[in-house]
């Protein structure tokens, strides 16, 4: 898989691929004004990375995501879901600060309609 990294801004996450764990991380804030434009290259990279069937983990450790980012992230997870349905080895990890019940709820709602392996996990 090709290296991939987008530095964080005040309102967009640090996105990077950790080759050793086959994990694409999104860490930080996610509320760009134009979410579809922001997430387009990430979706493109995931499409390419899953074309060979994985393995790939999509991992989130977000402090906040706005509604348009929620919609864009659902589309990212759908790419993995399609890969999973075709027998690919992919999964999703949603980490949330243990003090933020609202982010746990966001993760639960994002993942509730997918059948691929998902893990929701708090951190301090």
């Amino acid at each position: 898989m090709t290296p991939f990294e987008i530095p964080a801004t005040e309102y967009t996450p640090h996105v990077y691929f950790d080759e050793s764990s086959h994990t694409l991380w999104l860490r930080g804030e996610a509320y760009p004004e134009n979410a579809s434009a922001y997430f387009a290259p990430i979706a493109e990279w995931i499409e390419s990375a899953t074309a060979e069937g994985g393995p790939l983990t999509l991992a989130f450790a977000l402090d906040y995501l706005n509604t348009s980012s929620t919609k864009a992230i659902l589309d990212l997870i759908q790419i993995l879901e399609d890969c999973h349905q075709s027998g690919g080895k992919v999964d999703v990890v949603w980490l949330y600060q243990s003090s933020l019940e609202v982010m746990k709820e966001s993760g639960e709602e994002l993942l509730e309609d997918f059948s691929l392996p998902c893990l929701l996990k708090p951190f301090d």
Partner: protein, 191 residues
């Protein structure tokens, strides 16, 4: 509507009715007026997450409401500043009383957008929280709508997280310009 033709940008304070309402809510902890940009929203909004007397989850919900309502102003204000970056004319304030936060916005908007948002808010105010959750879920599954259609999932999210019905006023200024005013309430004990 152009920046030059807008009488609204000449007004440095909220409409008198909104101002009186805002002052009745307590102290002002955040106030943005004039050009509103994504950078400005981020720079000022982040302080809401870490107010010293607020638990982390309530701070996160206050921040969530603020971002959604501020980005609504950014997208739907009828007055945009020239340039590549999206910068819109509007006013946003966060007031705090002993038991609640009030997030108050005003922005110029077309008459049709204002009426559309007012109708949408009236509908959302009738729904219980579980119905709002279902509405958000259904909206997320729909194909993306154009920005001008607006008033979709962002308003639903605001209605889900607030603890009182959203207040919406549409005011016509003497010059014919329409101002959309929204107040969202978050009680500290219910969030």
């Amino acid at each position: 509507m152009t920046l030059r033709s807008s009488g609204y940008v000449q007004i440095h304070y909220f409409l008198m009715s909104t101002m009186l309402e805002a002052l009745s809510h307590g102290r002002c902890i955040l106030h943005l007026s004039g050009p509103i940009s994504q950078q400005l929203i981020a720079a000022h909004g982040s302080q809401l997450k870490s107010l010293p007397h607020l638990d982390a989850n309530t701070g996160a919900i206050l921040f969530r409401i603020f971002i959604e309502i501020a980005q609504n102003v950014l997208r739907h204000s009828a007055v945009k500043f020239p340039g590549e970056e999206l910068i819109s004319c509007g006013k946003i304030a966060v007031m705090e009383s002993h038991d609640a936060f009030y997030i108050i916005t005003e922005n110029p908007a077309s008459d049709s957008t204002s009426r559309h948002i007012q109708t949408k808010i009236d509908q959302l105010n009738q729904l219980p929280k579980e119905a709002l959750r279902q509405a958000a879920r259904e909206q997320l599954k729909k194909p993306a709508v154009s920005k001008t259609a607006g008033a979709g999932i962002g308003l639903i999210e605001i209605a889900r997280r607030t603890t009182s019905p959203l207040l919406c006023k549409v005011v016509t200024l003497p010059n014919g310009e329409t101002i959309l005013c929204i107040t969202a309430t978050l009680h500290k004990s219910k969030s």
